[in-house]
Each structure stands twice: as structure tokens, then as C-alpha cells.
């Protein structure tokens, strides 16, 4: 149990800067998720906490102690690797016993070791695999063993690197639920790296979004989802991706699609007439309504170009005044390709970003975006 503080962390591999000036405070017992696309520096960050990479600058503090120059085996952290990193020449039971036998994670008698292994394998449902070798396991089972090797001993911090990424979708959902229910996880500070926004939103107490090694936004899942700091974060969360439409402010409304339709400027967004902005509308926030139903928000009308059934929902591509807008619909409205639809969006679901190409930051003052903005600007100047 410990807090983890990263201050100005930097690491380069040759000319590639993997992590740039990253500062994060992780609280004791927090489940902290680092989210970002591949190459964003997530694993480098995690390995910096573990002490497996020599950082170029900045410091790592665990439990109030500066461990930047401390060897990994003195840091008392446990890590599950993306590649599982199970010892191929050892059985599952020997793999799990390995951290208990090193003598640096505490002294355990044979009976205590056995008890701990028993406990963790029961929790993870792998106690029938104890005498197998890693090569004789499925990916899901290897995953559990790798997780077991982390949970089998007490540690100040658990580090999990994409622990679910190699599992198929169904197993991933099941494991995600299991992870959340694991008692040990809820008590120990955990840093969890993933590129899957659903995992991040489902598991994290807080989420840090990384891009090109720099922090873009940090906050609770609610924060990140409701108030994405820029279009990068907005696009990273949600499937299908958020709709981004260029518009111009006029009389307190934002004209979109070359003036074909408009939405109101949400409260707290400081824009003046004539300003160019980008409007973000999540497909799941756009509601298809019947013709006569009176929606509270702004009303959009368009022609359905494409309707794809994705299980529970239907993904509609709607042509609204020349703009293609993706909409998720429950399918009960009976919309069809070629038909007309009316849609509403609640005012608080309208995200307004600065105009421009690439990743632009959010407009509006509802959130402490000071550090966030700094990070974004740095990236933009670097590009």
C-alpha cells in the first residue's frame, strides 16, 4: 500500500521520445488506469515505476520514498507483463512460488507458500493447472497465472500491463468483471495500462490519457467521458467514434454543415459570434425521435445513408445537410436506409472544441484543465 508520484518523468529511446515530462499523483489504494494508443508511452511509464527502465529525467516516488535510482527488486512492486513472462521451464506452481522464494518479498515457510498459492489459484480458478507448464496453457490460463504471480504476494503497488489484451472479446469481458471483484486489487494501489477505453472506463478510479508520451488528460472516468480535454480524448473513447463537425458561432448558436442546421452553444462555453469551432457529438448521445415527438434539445433532420446492425444497436450513417453523422439507434424507431430521421441532442452532450486540424482542445471552463492544456500545447509545438 503506497502512493505513487511521478514527477517530470522523461525517457527517450534513441530519437524517439517515449515519455515526456510526465507528472502524475496516484493515491494510496487507487486503481489508476493509463490509457492511450500503441506507442503512447504507457508501458515505458509502467516500467519506470517498476524500475525496469532507466529514466532520463524526473523522479519516481513510491510511498513517499524517492525510488528513482532504486533497483527493481528493492521497490516491492509486482507486475504482470503484456507477454505474461511466465518462466517456460517452470510449472505453474513454481511460477507462482517464485516471488515467495526470493526472500525479498518476505519470508515464507513451505506451508505458508502453499497456503498463499492455494488461495490465489482458488480465487483465479486455476488450481487444477498447478503442475502444468506454461506451454500447456491457453492464453486465458496464462493470463490468470501471470495475474496470480502478482497477487500471490503483498506489494506496495501492482502494475498491470495490458493484462487482457490477448484474450478474446468474451473472455476479456468476463476477466474485466473478475478483476474488479478481486479483493486484493481494491486494497492495493494498482496501475493498469490499456488501450481499450472500455476497460479504462469500467475499471479505473481515475484515468490518465497519454499521447506521444505526454499526458493529455487525467480524471475520473466520468470526467474523461463527459468532458474530454481535446478531440484526441474525445475520439479515443467510444465506439463508433465521436462525430466532429466544423461550425461557426452565430447568435448564440453554432451553425453546422454550411448553415444547414445548428445547435445551441452550451452553457459555460465562451465563444463570440463569428468564431469557428468544432462540435463533437457522440453517436450514443444523438437520439432518434419520431416526427411528432417533441424533443427538448435541438432538432436535426437527415437521410439515412447506411444502417448496420451491431447486435443491440443499429449504427446509422445519416446525411444531415451534407455532413455524415454517425448515430446509434435502438432500432425501435423503424428507420431504414433511404428514410428520413429526426434526432435530438441534449445540450450538455454537445462538446465544443477549438477549430483546426489535428487534435484541438476543448472550449469551456468546467474543469481544471491547466496542466492538461500545457501538455497539449507542448505536443503541438513538437509536431
Amino acid at each position: 500500500m503506497a502512493t505513487v508520484t511521478l514527477k517530470g518523468l522523461s525517457k527517450s529511446y534513441g530519437k524517439t521520445q517515449a515519455v515526456r515530462d510526465l507528472s502524475v499523483d496516484i493515491e494510496d489504494g487507487e486503481f489508476f488506469v493509463i490509457l492511450g494508443p500503441s506507442g503512447a508511452g504507457k508501458t515505458t511509464t509502467l516500467k519506470s515505476v517498476a524500475g525496469l527502465v532507466d529514466v532520463d529525467g524526473g523522479s519516481v516516488t513510491i510511498g513517499g520514498k524517492d525510488v528513482t535510482l532504486v533497483e527493481p527488486y528493492h521497490r516491492n512492486v509486482a507486475m504482470a507483463f503484456e507477454s505474461y513472462a511466465l518462466y517456460p521451464q517452470k510449472t505453474v506452481s513454481d511460477n507462482l512460488a517464485s516471488p515467495l522464494k526470493s526472500g525479498r518479498t518476505g519470508k515464507y515457510t513451505d506451508a505458508q507458500q502453499k497456503e498463499r498459492i492455494d488461495q490465489v489459484t482458488t480465487t483465479l480458478g486455476i488450481n487444477h493447472l498447478l503442475n502444468r507448464f506454461p506451454r500447456e496453457l491457453s492464453n486465458g490460463q496464462r493470463q490468470r497465472v501471470a495475474l496470480g504471480r502478482v497477487l500471490v504476494r503483498p506489494a506496495d503497488v501492482y502494475l498491470l500491463d495490458e493484462p487482457l489484451s490477448h484474450l478474446d472479446a468474451k473472455l476479456r469481458a468476463a476477466m474485466r468483471a473478475e478483476l474488479k471483484q478481486l479483493g486484493a486489487m481494491s486494497k492495493t494501489t494498482t496501475v493498469y495500462v490499456t488501450h481499450d477505453y472500455q476497460e479504462a472506463l469500467a475499471l479505473g478510479d481515475r484515468i490518465a490519457v497519454l499521447r506521444d508520451g505526454a499526458l493529455v488528460q487525467i480524471g475520473t472516468p466520468e470526467d474523461i467521458w463527459r468532458r474530454p480535454a481535446d478531440t484526441f480524448v474525445a475520439r479515443a473513447l467510444g465506439q463508433p467514434e465521436i462525430n466532429l463537425l466544423d461550425g461557426e458561432v452565430e447568435d448564440g448558436r453554432i451553425r453546422l454543415g454550411g448553415g444547414a442546421f445548428d445547435v445551441p452553444v452550451p452553457a459555460g462555453v465562451d465563444v463570440r459570434g463569428g468564431d469557428r469551432v468544432r462540435v463533437g457529438l457522440r453517436p450514443c448521445d444523438i437520439h432518434v425521435v419520431g416526427d411528432q415527438a417533441a424533443g427538448s434539445g435541438p432538432r436535426l433532420t437527415g437521410t439515412v445513408v447506411l444502417a448496420e446492425r451491431l447486435g443491440r444497436n443499429i449504427e446509422l450513417t445519416v446525411d444531415v445537410g451534407g455532413e455524415q453523422v454517425i448515430v446509434l439507434s435502438s432500432g425501435r424507431e423503424g428507420v431504414d436506409e433511404g428514410g428520413q430521421v429526426s434526432m435530438t441532442v441534449a445540450e450538455h452532450d454537445i462538446h465544443v472544441f477549438a477549430a483546426g486540424e489535428g487534435d484541438t482542445s476543448r472550449l469551456g471552463a468546467d474543469h481544471d484543465t491547466g496542466r492538461t492544456r500545457g501538455g497539449v500545447e507542448e505536443v503541438e509545438t513538437a509536431q
Binding site: 516500467k47 517498476a50 524500475g51 525496469l52 533497483e71 527493481p72 527488486y73 521497490r75 512492486v77 509486482a78 507486475m79 507483463f81 503484456e82 507477454s83 505474461y84 513472462a85 511466465l86 518462466y87 517456460p88 521451464q89 517464485s98 516471488p99 526470493s102 526472500g103 525479498r104 518479498t105 506451454r135 492464453n139 504471480r149 490477448h166
Partner: protein, 296 residues
């Protein structure tokens, strides 16, 4: 039996069988010719080793095989003919080459691990410098070595031979094992570090067992190269540290008659230790080519 139903019919191919076509026949024929061509010296040597003194130089094929040449080589009679005890030479070779391989492994395995894991400026140059010992012909360094060995008292000592054979075995061991360590995912050792093991223990506990097939392969190759070395023992050793490669050539006669049949018999005996070694660790050699990594 019910299982008879599953017997393949004649038109089906069994595993390991292939359909005969013109192409494969030609290929097989080519391989057979090449096989005969490359094996012919060995066949010749075996026949020669089984011939007696009269038969060995006749212009027509005369052959009444006997094992007597092998017995002569190993007996006192052979020792008198060459003034070298062949059995002692065999033992010396085993000590020299075994010693050289062990020293190379003890020093070379950590060196290969370091070279495979840590890249720094000039690390490749260092590796090539080591390999460059193998670029130059041994004869180029033998004269200065001879002078040095005489002066520091290493001439005709087993320690001296083990030392000089490092020029042959060490680069081989380091270069082969470096690639093994490079292929080994770093995650495994990192996992051991986080389990609370020191770097040394992580190396011994995780890396070493996994590259064991590679070590076997490298050790065998190094042993064969050291065993076959001729120039170093010829110049730097005499009766005390003289190896079997030098002893063989004594049968060709420095002063009197050349005993080709005895030479052939001696060569066959001398080829046995590496052959036996190779067969013993064959299992590792095959595994050494295809060892599994982290993910399936």
C-alpha cells in the same frame, strides 16, 4: 478390429511419404551423387585403415580387412614407430579441448549475455574485434606466440594449450550464445527482478536454463574446432601437451616409411570423441534450433 476401418488405403499418403514425380527423382539422384562424392574420402579412409602394409600401395584393389592397424596404433609397437604414445595424446587432446571449452563457457556465457543485453557505443566493434582472431590465419600469429610461450614457460604445457585454444573456442561461444540471449525476451528476466531476484540470480534462474540447448550447441562446436586444431599444438607443444592431431601425422613418418594404413586407423580413432559427444547431446542440438519463447 474396428480400428481397421481407419487404415489408410493405398491411394492415400502416409505421413512422411511423398508422391513420386520426375522432379523429386532427379533431386534424389542429385543428392545421392553428392552424398557419394562427399562421403568417398571417409569410405576410402575406412578401407585403408582395414588394409595391411602390402595392400595399401597396390595399384589394383586388394583387400583382406583386419583390425590389426587399430591395435598397432594403440599398442607399444605404435609408440615405438612414432615415439609418441597415441593413448596419451588422446588423453592430452581431451584435457586440452575440454579445458578450453570449459574456460570458454565460464567466461564466454556471461560475456555473451552482456553483449546480447546491453548495447553501448562500440559494443559491436568489440564483438568484431573478438571475431577478428578468426579472420587471420593461425600461422600469422604463431611465430610471436612461439617466442612468447618459450619466454614465459608456457611452451609444451597444457595450461598454455588451453589458453591458446581460446582463440579458437571463445569467439565461437560468444557469437553463438549472444544471438541466443538476444532472442530471449527481456520480460522474463524483468519478471524475475520484480519477483525480488538480483540480476545475477535472474540470469542464473531464468536465462541460463532457457538457453541450455544453445550452450550445448556452442560447446560442441567449440570442442570440435579445438579438437581439430593442428597448427597450435604442432608449434607450441611437444611430448607433454602434444595432441592427437599431431600424433596422427607421426605415422606418415618423419624419418622412415609412411604408414598410410596406420595413419587412417589413427584418424578414425581420433574422430570418435567428437562423434560420440555429438551423438550424446544431439537431443539438445535439435531443441537448440527451435526453443519456444514467451507467447505460444
Amino acid at each position: 478390429m474396428a480400428l481397421d476401418r481407419f487404415k489408410p488405403t493405398r491411394t492415400e499418403l502416409l505421413p512422411g511419404h511423398k508422391r513420386l514425380g520426375v522432379g523429386s527423382v532427379v533431386a534424389d539422384l542429385g543428392l545421392i551423387i553428392w552424398f557419394v562424392f562427399s562421403l568417398f574420402p571417409i569410405v576410402w579412409m575406412v578401407i585403408l585403415a582395414l588394409k595391411n602394409a602390402e595392400e595399401q600401395t597396390t595399384t589394383y584393389f586388394q583387400f583382406s580387412p583386419s583390425w590389426s592397424n587399430f591395435a598397432t596404433v594403440l599398442s607399444d609397437k605404435g609408440t615405438q614407430m612414432t615415439s609418441v604414445d597415441f593413448k596419451t595424446a588422446m588423453l592430452t587432446s581431451l584435457i586440452n579441448c575440454g579445458g578450453a571449452v570449459i574456460v570458454s563457457l565460464v567466461i564466454g556465457i556471461p560475456a555473451a549475455y552482456a553483449a546480447g543485453r546491453w548495447k553501448y557505443k562500440g559494443s559491436n566493434d568489440l564483438m568484431f574485434q573478438m571475431l577478428s582472431f578468426r579472420f587471420a590465419p593461425e600461422l600469422m600469429v604463431i611465430v610471436p606466440l612461439f617466442v612468447i610461450y618459450n619466454q614465459i614457460g608456457l611452451f609444451d604445457t597444457k595450461v598454455g594449450m588451453i589458453w591458446v585454444l581460446q582463440l579458437v573456442t571463445m569467439p565461437l561461444v560468444v557469437w553463438i550464445l549472444r544471438s541466443y540471449f538476444e532472442d530471449l525476451p527481456e520480460d522474463l528476466e524483468q519478471a524475475a527482478l520484480l519477483d525480488g531476484y538480483s540480476r545475477t540470480r535472474a540470469f542464473v534462474m531464468v536465462a541460463l536454463p532457457i538457453v541450455r540447448p544453445g550452450i550445448a550447441a556452442a560447446a560442441l562446436l567449440a570442442f570440435i574446432f579445438a579438437w581439430n586444431n593442428y597448427v597450435f599444438p604442432l608449434i607450441l607443444a611437444d611430448s607433454n601437451a602434444g595432441t592427437v592431431t599431431v600424433a596422427i601425422t607421426k605415422f606418415l613418418g618423419g624419418g622412415g616409411q609412411a604408414y598410410y594404413n596406420l595413419t587412417a586407423a589413427a584418424a578414425i580413432i581420433a574422430a570418435l570423441p567428437p562423434l560420440i559427444l555429438a551423438l550424446t547431446i544431439q537431443r539438445y542440438l535439435v531443441r537448440g534450433l527451435s526453443f519456444g519463447a514467451v507467447k505460444a
